[in-house]
């Protein structure tokens, strides 16, 4: 089998020890205790988790190692951490805590950190965040620093470059659709996934398992990530952690071949 069962990855946003949720990278809403959330996702046999500190880079803060250590001790599943990472030494410290992967955003742009980190820790530990805004003309532009700085490059070219530097995986997120629950940017995901050989995690816009099924059927990405869908419930958006059962996830994969 050359295709794996799709991975379903909750993406948790944190800052100053709080679990938050933004929309289009703005207006963070407080949801609760992130460690408790990690614990619940662990009990639900979740495939994998991504935790992103959404303020570390902007505040020029070091990663919150104490918090990361608490995540690692609660998660018997793969965990990726992102936010504020700028050096090989920081990556070493995070991986030695027992985190599998680091997600690198702004510091990935010039390529040096990615090359050095891939050579030291192996590509499989290095995920590059590709945050994307769609222009009026339909161009996909890469933005960094929580969507505040235009990197001046299109998403496809950037993704190929990151693969070349040694990234092991790409976390491609549509900023415009983040928190919208209206479905993924399928054109974007399809384009990136077809361009690179490394796995692509798609994020931004998931509102239901149907959205994920669509993504899996049409885009060729390796994994679907979602924030809102797994941490908020109903039209009033009450904080509630949920995760599909194993057979529901398996059915998302079957759909790729099963439907006519």
């Amino acid at each position: 089998m050359t295709s794996l069962r799709p991975r379903l990855i909750p993406c948790l946003q944190v800052a100053e020890g709080e679990l938050l949720k933004t929309r289009q990278f703005k207006n963070p809403v407080y949801l609760g205790d992130p460690i408790n959330a990690v614990k619940i996702f662990n009990d639900l046999d979740c495939d994998e988790l991504v935790v992103v500190d959404i303020r570390a880079t902007l505040a020029r803060r070091e990663p919150d190692y104490a918090l990361i250590e608490e995540f690692a001790s609660e998660a018997f599943m793969p965990l990726a951490y992102g936010g504020g990472i700028q050096s090989v030494e920081q990556i070493r410290r995070i991986l030695s805590i027992g985190i599998e992967k680091v997600v690198i955003g702004a510091a990935a742009v010039d390529g040096d950190l990615i090359s050095a980190a891939a050579a030291t820790f192996g590509s499989q530990s290095i995920v590059v965040a590709v945050d994307v805004r769609r222009t009026f003309l339909g161009r996909h532009e890469v933005w960094t620093r929580s969507g505040t700085r235009n990197a001046g490059i299109d998403a496809r070219t950037y993704s190929l470059r990151m693969e070349q530097y040694g990234a092991g995986e790409l976390f491609v997120q549509s900023i415009d659709l983040e928190g919208a629950r209206s479905g993924y940017d399928l054109a974007l995901m399809k384009q990136i996934s077809a361009a690179v050989r490394i796995p692509v995690i798609a994020c931004g816009g998931a509102g239901s398992l149907e959205d994920i099924r669509h993504l899996m059927q049409s885009s060729g990405v390796a994994a679907a990530a979602a924030g809102t869908m797994f941490v908020l419930h109903g039209k009033h958006k009450a904080p509630l952690i949920s995760y599909p059962r194993p057979h529901e996830i398996a059915s998302l994969a079957g759909a790729t071949r099963g439907t006519t």
């Binding site: 089998m1 794996l4 069962r5 495939d47 599943m77 027992g98 192996g122 499989q124 050989r197 796995p199």
Partner: protein
């Protein structure tokens, strides 16, 4: 994870503590040469080999398993050579994404092996790797996994075993495997 299993464990860094351990886990995350060099620089290479010779249980995990083999296409340093196997890159096949990253099923070729206890009929594990182990002799292949062709997901030679997947990240299947190791 060992805390959850109520099993005493500690991270060891000196040859003395390696030789006084009852069981030993050789973990590894990173590039092959970097891991081999780290083992050598810490002065633990010889103590791991001595430990293996005493017939006490040794488990290599991920690159730790690859380090048990003779060599790796990822680097130029020699492996520990405890398992007659070679670590090779996944083939360049259209549509095969590398690294092999995610949950995959494994087939236990020695289902009554103590490590495979209660795992032989249904188990899935989390994998993250770009290089895979090919055994010279099929009898060292404890379990196989299929990703662009079969490779050894677990290897064994007497008291020395290795798993390519991450038991510490594979929920209850991983808990079971580590429990099996601690009871072996």
């Amino acid at each position: 994870m060992f805390r959850k299993l109520r099993i005493d464990s500690e991270v060891v860094t000196s040859p003395q503590s390696v030789s006084s351990a009852r069981r030993l886990i050789l973990p590894g995350i990173g590039a092959f040469d970097a891991c081999m060099r780290a083992l050598e620089d810490s002065g633990l290479r010889a103590s791991v080999l001595e430990f293996a010779a005493t017939q006490r249980p040794l488990l290599g995990i991920c690159v730790g398993m690859q380090m048990l083999t003779l060599d790796s296409e990822e680097g130029s340093m020699a492996g520990l050579g405890l398992i007659r196997a070679h670590t090779r890159r996944f083939p360049d096949v259209e549509g095969l994404r590398i690294p092999h990253m995610g949950w995959n099923a494994v087939k236990w070729l020695i289902p009554d092996h103590p490590l495979a206890r209660e795992l032989s009929t249904d188990s899935r594990f989390y994998f993250v790797h770009s290089y895979r182990v090919i055994c010279e002799s099929p009898e060292n292949s404890l379990a196989v996994c299929d990703y662009g062709g079969e490779f050894s997901a677990a290897v064994v030679h007497g008291n020395v075993a290795g798993v390519q997947f991450h038991p510490e990240k594979s929920h209850r299947y991983g808990l079971r495997l580590l429990g099996n190791f601690a009871a072996s």
